[in-house]
Symmetry: C2
Subunit: 257 residues, 2 copies
Amino acid sequence: MSEKLILVTNDDGYAAKGLRAAVEIARQFGRVIAIAPEVTQSGMSQAITMYKPLFLKKQHEEPGVEIYSFSGTPVDCVKMAFDYLLADRRVDLVISGINHGSNAAINVLYSGTMGAAIEGSFYGCPSIGLSLIDHDLNADFDAAVQYGTQIVKQVLTQQIELPLCLNVNFPIARPEQIQGIRICRQTRGYWREEFYRREDPNHRPYFWLTGEFINHEPEAEDTDEWALKHNYVAVVPVQVDLTDYRRMDMLHRILPE
Amino acid sequence: MSEKLILVTNDDGYAAKGLRAAVEIARQFGRVIAIAPEVTQSGMSQAITMYKPLFLKKQHEEPGVEIYSFSGTPVDCVKMAFDYLLADRRVDLVISGINHGSNAAINVLYSGTMGAAIEGSFYGCPSIGLSLIDHDLNADFDAAVQYGTQIVKQVLTQQIELPLCLNVNFPIARPEQIQGIRICRQTRGYWREEFYRREDPNHRPYFWLTGEFINHEPEAEDTDEWALKHNYVAVVPVQVDLTDYRRMDMLHRILPE
């Protein structure tokens, strides 16, 4: 295999342990350029920065690996990489992650990791979001690195039609406990929030957002939530046409031209 | 029609002209509670605020209308409304907008307006994002209010299966120039960015993000971009299962369990 160029990003910030785990996967296959947010950008979805300037800084360099921080969102990082930093170079793959926390089910919509992975798939190369369903800063990434390497190798060596974007989630497990890889669909379900109300010293109320995921189909064996619960690596192929084609006829009826 | 309760939000902030236009539409059908970001949140997508507390403030009250600001993202506003402020009340409709700027095509992914509209559709009522493809702070909302009213009326009076989320975009036109309403699909295309590089007084480089939308199918008459270009109101039904079912077989082949 000729040397590849792999772009790594994440939403937990350039210093996160999960970014090092993604770099560890990527460097087995070629040169690595990582450009990741300066500070945590969890829950930033596909957000872009429209009204402030963004700062870029090289944070680390070692043979075959360069790591930059960028003061924007995960999607800003991907745009900066493709449209400026690497604008004259061919990128073979984008890896976003490894995220500290699940991006299965509806989390794919809120996830900065998946925002960046989706954005990466717009630039003519495959793009993979990797997430470990463990928020711990010192989470054990061994199984994620092992299975992530396997998935990345397949994507880099097989002929695959583009665009390709994968949402890969790893269960909390040691490598030997993993049951295998499952191709899944996104689980149906939503978050319901609970706001913690407090008051500041001037009696202004403020709120902390906290919530719980409601799985609408916990028994569905073809979903990513089911796979993770049963110690499988869950792989969901992702696309970005949000059109709900099933509602077209109804709309033609209620909104005649 | 019995009195309805309509939640209004946006991404341009509670003081935007477009929010008043959305309130003007909504108040024809019932009581209006608006809760919108304190400051502009354009491009915030489906982002949520995970690591800081959020401040809620009542900004305005008049018969049948209350307007609150919330210091988070558009999605935070919707969650605050349903899970706290209106938690014990039945909401009949969510209107997000009227946005100053287009949310057609791939913009639906980056849009804070549509992030909020999508979030609204998770709470058991129809949800409509309204956008005028004019960034001007003093944009002319007359046609948007007229056609928006017509769409809202249909959604409130017809029997419609939930969830329902609509992405409605209005062309820049006077009401009499509008050709009608078209049910469309999301146009395929992407943004390509150009970063303006400058240096601060300490010679640190910084960047402004700016870009151009590349329409991959400008001639496709069933797309939202085509409709807008031809002075139609474009209505795209939106759903949130991002699973790319067409790639399942390929993935089963390259990633055997």
